[in-house]
Symmetry: none
């Protein structure tokens, strides 16, 4: 795998969201987007752990959960790879649904802050540009 784990994943160690959960969700998104295709090898636990300064057990736990969910398969002695039967490369509409919960949360916060839609949307567009 020439992908550098540090480029693939972005971890917020300060967040209350457990690190292993952040990893699991990100792998699912990358697979859903087709950025990882069935048969692709995953970076090794050790590699990810070092790149993100995490405990290897934490990465291992994330991989195990992804295996249980059928997203990854374990190739003995060779590491993990994206499972053949992983539902990959979904349509944009399907992928957009995975974004819903976070957008709904943003909308809830915007309502409590009494911000009108225009302000919120233009701020969001600006942030999307910054990241591009």
């Amino acid at each position: 795998m020439t992908n550098h784990a540090a480029r693939l994943f972005s971890i917020a160690t300060g967040s209350s969201e457990p690190i292993y959960r952040q990893l699991v969700d990100q792998v699912k998104r990358l697979v859903a987007a087709g950025q990882m295709a069935p048969g692709d090898g995953m970076p090794s636990v050790r590699e990810v752990a070092q790149a993100l300064a995490l405990n290897p057990m934490t990465v291992s736990k994330a991989y195990s959960l992804l295996e249980m969910e059928g997203v990854l398969t374990r190739r003995r002695g060779l590491g993990m790879e994206v499972a053949a039967r992983a539902s990959t490369a979904q349509s944009a509409q399907e992928r957009a649904q995975l974004l819903r919960p976070t957008l709904e949360r943003a909308a809830m916060e915007a309502r409590q802050l009494e911000l009108d839609s225009d302000t919120v949307v233009s701020l969001f567009i600006q942030i999307l540009k910054e990241q591009a």
Copy 2:
């Protein structure tokens, strides 16, 4: 105290975000928006606990943290109220900044899902309308 606690707060019990943290953040947003003004009485710990089906200690912990942060003040035997020196009713621009972290997270997820900005923004607008 005619505020119905259940209407003020919305708790996601399934979230990894601790309940007391959700309460703290929501109170801060409501105060920032001016929906709660200095001197306003907060619903009692027991009232909120019952309305949201929480343990009173969980609510109490949130109130204590808000007191330490200077958002609420305790009136012995009378309950909590919004602190006089709480920075309330901020400008829309200031309030929008409180929304940044969540929008940044949404943008990160969108990028990993390889969704183009138009798709994401229109989905967001739709969700904002649903909630209105």
Copy 3:
């Protein structure tokens, strides 16, 4: 009673020590020192409450406890007075023993702060002079 309650008592509202307890202890000390003699009338609940900006119920509770302990007696319609059988005007040695707990606490704190006796004692002497 010409004694101004505000001069007799000093209350630390911020302390974790309950206000009624502070009042009880102070009355006991004043009686032990003979500053209040049997038959002396106490300032009224209302007077103390107003002078110290306390809730009258709090003062009333302190007086009730002192009555139960036999330090004060209730004269119907006339207020409270120091009980005839209150053990007053004790010797300096007896009174000093009432000071022990607080001094022991100070000594414990000094030890944890690794302060040598000379430093502590000279600071204490200085504070005693300030208050004189």
Copy 4:
């Protein structure tokens, strides 16, 4: 972690001062005295709880407060340690100031007991010797 928690801390269960507050204040004093240095590991919550016969949550609350105040830092899964930026090993003069409130309280009580300075000071010196 060879520190015996029971030797480090001394708790007055009868006091009106909440236990968690007593713990917080004692840790601050030990750090101020340099008895605990940045990087030193704290005894675990469970260890302290058992040694002092307290509920772990009570100890945990004290540790959390110390973390919020920047005295301790949490190392996920490894326990708490004295924060690097904790202001440690202060001068004797600075440490003596931390003792002021308690000495002022003692002076106030002495005045109400009408004890002269000599009596009070010699009693204090005697107590300091007892503890040595």
